[in-house]
Point group: C2
């Protein structure tokens, strides 16, 4: 057993979803924290940071080593093998089949190809997977608040953000929550938290959004809003923002409307301006900027939605 396991792992044939996911997040973390060639990587530290044991972290590091991102230290341990600033995580790391399926379901739902109410038995043949897999996927959707169990049979996707209604409501909600976060009496800008965010934004601006795919920008964007709310010190405000990000991620998955580089660039600058104001401690100005930022994003989104006839397109703020 042991021999066989080592063998398959060495061939790179097996890697659990968690391991792949960790590898990607580790890569992003290293890059955004400014780690350069030769930087030593500590497995226990990563395990702590991501709330898992060393086992999956070790597997993820091995994965990264096979991809040439890491290399062994002269004596023991691992170090960064190359410059990370131009790496596209998703290109380097294959998505696990289950992750792929998750995104596919999300996309089909966002496009309306998948009905709002579904049964497990309906999904099994559709995606040609076992019930266990279906349950696992639905459970994950449920954990992100994107789907709910119906009282009797079946599951129900939450109202998506398509349509003027939900779209407007979403922005109204975000405006309320995120501005409240800035106004929170306990608000405290944490440089250790915000610096990587800022760095990521600057990286986007540097290559004019050429190497920045929609996925990447979404992650950066979501991270910005979530961490900003996080500074409020109010976990409920933070959770609410995260929840909204999850919802918008589903819309994003529809894959319509690639966001124009111009728009990304502008959002980026607005984010940086907000960060400046926050770090300078000028909360009123921060709030004004944020409010304006959200309003513009909402307008942009609605414009796109109005232009294309199809149901689509939440703008990313």
């Amino acid at each position: 057993m042991d021999a066989r396991r080592q063998e398959t792992q060495a061939r790179g044939e097996t890697a659990s979803p968690l391991q792949i996911d960790l590898a990607r997040r580790i890569l992003e973390r290293m890059r955004d924290s400014g780690a350069g060639e030769g930087t030593r990587i500590s497995a226990p530290e990563l395990a702590r940071a991501f709330g898992v044991s060393r086992s999956p972290v070790s597997a993820a590091l091995e994965l990264l080593m096979r991809q040439g991102v890491l290399k062994p230290m002269p004596t023991r341990g691992l170090q960064v093998a190359r410059d990370l600033s131009d790496i596209v995580p998703h290109a380097l790391l294959p998505r696990s089949p289950i992750e792929e399926l998750y995104r596919r379901m999300m996309r089909e739902r966002a496009r309306g190809e998948l009905p709002q109410e579904v049964s497990e038995a309906e999904l099994m043949p559709r995606y040609d997977v076992s019930r266990g897999v279906v349950r696992k996927l639905l459970l994950r959707f449920a954990a992100e608040g994107l789907v709910q169990r119906l009282p009797g049979h079946g599951w129900r996707f939450v109202d998506t953000l398509v349509g003027e209604e939900a779209f407007r409501e979403s922005y109204e909600f975000r405006m309320v929550v995120e501005c409240a976060a800035l106004r929170s009496p306990n608000f405290k800008a944490n440089p250790a938290q915000l610096t990587p965010i800022r760095r990521a934004h600057e990286r986007v601006l540097k290559d004019n959004g050429r190497h920045v795919g929609g996925d990447e920008w979404f992650r950066i964007n979501a991270g910005f809003h979530e961490n900003l709310a996080g500074c409020s010190g109010n976990r409920f405000l933070t959770d609410a923002v995260r929840q909204q990000n999850n919802l918008r991620r589903m819309q994003e998955a529809a894959g319509y409307d690639e966001l124009p580089a111009k728009r990304i660039e502008q959002s980026c600058r607005e984010h940086l301006a907000i960060l400046d104001a926050v770090e300078a401690g000028d909360m009123e100005w921060s709030e004004a900027l944020l409010r304006q930022h959200l309003r513009q994003a909402a307008q942009f989104g609605q414009a796109v939605e109005g232009a294309s006839g199809k149901r689509s397109s939440t703008a990313r703020a």
Copy 2:
């Protein structure tokens, strides 16, 4: 098969959790909608209202008939058999074992007897149930946002509301969200929605909180805040309030500190005052009242928490 099923059902030995739950909700619905003796009950209408098929509704109605709450019409169908205003639903309808277990888990968690992070394997022997049941329970907790899956193994309960920190944050969050709901441009007081709420409050006042247990009051209280937010027409605001209610329900489950009847009565009056203002369309005054109401509830809760040495007691607003 068929004969056996009818037999067991006739003996009242089997009743699925859904059926029992429906029976209780139907009872509450009839009572709060002011149905008196002789009122005819329509199964399809109830099925629509609760989003299930007629099957479990029929079973629930049969259950209520066996309890003497309903009786057959002269020709066909069912009617209310007695005055419903003094009925205590929980006393009449036995909770299903799984419901009982759910509440027990919640209570033990709220009291800190159950650790914040648990594994399924740990829970199975503890409650002497199969893995399937454990999963089902955890899934339900997850659906209410009370527990989350950890990346690797195990589940993690969300931070409870005990401790000054979380308690303050919770009220800050509610203040933000609920007041925003009242200020929402699309706010629209829906009498059909608010009248049953008002009636329930008046019932509480009428018998000075004598027959109103903590459970009952919690339900009414939660319903008030949720429906009020619901009038905003913004589903995200509504969801946020519901989520807070779920959290507070867990605190409630600890079962410390029976809320004094005086306090319930006062909250009740404050709720009614808010309803008055809302229905009169005076949103500014509504908001002022609501803000004051939440502030007082927060103070009351903190006072109790400070007084009793134990970790306990979220006040109900």
